[in-house]
């Protein structure tokens, strides 16, 4: 492992972790502010990066501002570690920061993710960085950004409830899939980035720190550890996660994890768990068990947010 001094030496041609020191300081200060005001969108000076806006520049800047040579980095794109975006970001971070990489969610110290939160419960020493395309939860109901800001200031979120009401009137259910608005620390409504509804409860009273960053919109916000995060819901129409009961992962045989639906010729579909790092661990564990401890159990599958019966780990959170 290289030291910061080596990595930072000028003959490499780049600053350590790519961003210059001013950019990193800017980001760190904004991150501190975001943590201090949970759910509040902090504007920041978003830098140019060697990837295009919309490909995770917000998340990448936060990751680069936080990463050190001792970190273990995992990058997730739609649950997968091996998609083009995830692979490139992971390689870039590793090369620029000298950090180790992994696909194992419980081994990582820094997880940058797009669209998913891992199935295994994250711990206190971990930081989750979510890439956010649109940080403004009020965008769909108020297109004027300065008005939206005023609404945040006054905690005037009636319009979001109204949009839920309208969905119930028109479709008899809430049709929001991803980016389900939730109230953070009883104060600010935030968009939890395009994670599915399945992942929203994972933010509530979580042990880990979550940082959400939008590079194009130049805003970042945070859910500090052990903070209340409540999806908007009516008293008599509770928030529900995706109904995937009866879906079984064809690779692991598990149920009640967030699944990808793979359409088959002939009209049917098979399902696989979307979190590939988790699948890898489960599959690796099975032969271990059969070999009766011939190899050291290198990666025991940790406790998950949802158990095999689909119950969320915090009792009574999902009604």
């Amino acid at each position: 492992m290289s030291t910061v001094a080596e990595l930072a030496s000028s003959n490499r041609g780049y600053s350590y972790a790519f961003l210059d020191e001013f950019a990193k300081r800017e980001l760190r200060r904004r991150i501190l502010k975001a943590i201090a005001i949970p759910g509040y969108q902090v504007p920041y000076a978003s830098r140019e990066l060697p990837i295009a806006r919309g490909w995770g520049t917000g998340g990448l800047q936060v990751t680069l501002a936080l990463v050190g040579p001792d970190d273990v980095v995992k990058v997730i794109d739609q649950g997968a570690d091996d998609s083009v975006n995830a692979a490139n970001l992971r390689r870039f971070i590793a090369r620029m920061a000298g950090a180790d990489t992994t696909t194992d969610a419980s081994r990582a110290t820094l997880i940058q993710s797009r669209h998913r939160i891992p199935e295994e419960r994250l711990q206190e020493h971990q930081t989750l960085v979510l890439q956010v395309p649109d940080p403004e939860p009020l965008r769909s109901v108020e297109h004027d950004i300065s008005k939206a800001r005023l609404m945040h200031a006054e905690a005037d979120y009636g319009l979001l409830w109204l949009s839920l009401y309208e969905q119930l009137v028109r479709y008899r259910r809430v049709t929001l899939g991803a980016s389900y608005p939730c109230l953070v620390h009883h104060r600010y409504v935030m968009s939890p980035s395009p994670i599915p509804r399945w992942d929203v409860p994972k933010l509530h009273q979580s042990a880990h720190l979550t940082l959400l960053s939008a590079g194009r919109e130049k805003r970042l916000y945070a859910v500090p550890p052990y903070t209340d995060v409540r999806p908007l819901e009516f008293a008599d129409v509770p928030f529900r996660v995706e109904d995937q009961r009866g879906w079984m992962c064809y690779r692991t045989g598990l149920q009640n994890k967030f699944m990808n639906e793979l359409p088959q010729t002939g009209g049917g579909a098979i399902y696989e768990i979307s979190d590939t790092g988790f699948v890898e661990k489960v599959l690796r564990k099975v032969p271990d068990r059969e070999a009766a401890g011939s190899t050291p159990a290198q990666a025991a599958v940790g406790a998950t947010y949802y158990d095999d019966e689909g119950r969320f780990y915090i009792d009574g959170y999902l009604r």
């Binding site: 006054e154 005037d156 409830w161 109204l162 009401y165 309208e166 009137v169 028109r170 009516f234 008293a235």
Partner: protein
């Protein structure tokens, strides 16, 4: 017999006259609003309205009557003036100096408004029932079924056809849009109802029906109402008292019959005769 308007619920105003001893529900003093330095839209206007009363404001276009209403609805800040509302939580406090949050609370709970242009008062692309539900949501209601029921009740009270309660206002007729606005205005049973030319732009027969609804609602709920109109017929039908405005000033005020039958001010005379 002297009845204290505060203790007893007010009797039906149109039929049983009582001596009013309570202070006015609404008191505005020295209201001034200028636009752009030299346009004086409202010039030292005083308004008093008692509980259960209907006050009409008439005047030609540009006389400042709509501006008065916007100021009363706390949509704009006046350049001078005091505004008192005789409800326990706000007693003795000038509403114009409240902070935005407090003003919003007043607008949510104590004031209902119907605009001439439904686009100002309604979210045209949301459902009609949703427009009413929004008010209750802002007031803190979080049960879907309660919202549905309250929306239905308010729409029924304003005689809106309930089978269309989930149509967006863009797809409703003008008269229906005004009924949705009215339902939204009365959903939280406000103390003060502001009507800004509520029937202008409707054809005569629909206008009559909407006016009937307004009159009935006002009589049933006894809500203090301020109605702005240039149509003396509307004022004659609804208002107990009338204020005539011109160039931002009140030129004459008094009981509706008195002012309209025996106008003293030259301008009011002109106005009345132009109408007749």
């Amino acid at each position: 017999m002297v009845t204290s308007g505060r203790d007893a619920p007010r009797p039906v105003s149109a039929h049983a006259p009582v001596i009013v001893t309570s202070p006015p529900l609404l008191q505005v003093r020295g209201l001034v609003k200028r636009y752009g330095g030299h346009v004086v839209a409202v010039d030292r206007v005083d308004i008093e309205a008692y509980a259960g009363e209907v006050l009409g404001i008439v005047g030609e276009s540009g006389s400042g009557k709509s501006t008065v209403l916007r100021l009363l609805n706390l949509e704009e800040r006046p350049d001078a003036g005091e505004y008192f509302f005789d409800v326990p939580a706000l007693a003795g406090r000038n509403l114009f100096t409240l902070d935005r949050m407090a003003q919003r609370r007043v607008r949510t709970f104590d004031i209902g408004i119907v605009y001439q242009n439904p686009h100002l008062g309604l979210r045209m692309r949301n459902t009609s029932s949703g427009n009413i539900a929004e008010r209750l949501i802002v007031a803190g209601e979080r049960a879907y079924r309660t919202l549905r029921l309250a929306a239905r009740e308010a729409l029924a009270a304003s005689e809106f056809p309930l089978d269309r309660m989930d149509d967006p206002p863009v797809r409703l007729s003008g008269g229906m849009q005004q009924r949705v606005q009215l339902a939204k205005a009365i959903a939280l049973k406000p103390k003060l109802l502001l009507l800004d030319e509520p029937t202008t732009g409707l054809d005569v027969s629909v206008q009559a029906l909407v006016l009937d609804t307004l009159k009935r609602l006002q009589r049933e709920t006894g809500v203090t109402t301020i109605i702005v109109s240039h149509d003396l017929g509307v004022i004659r039908m609804l208002a107990d008292r009338v204020m005539v405005m011109r160039y931002g000033r009140v030129v004459e005020q008094g009981l509706t019959d008195q002012v309209l039958e025996d106008p003293q001010d030259a301008y009011t005379q002109q106005l009345v005769h132009a109408k007749l």
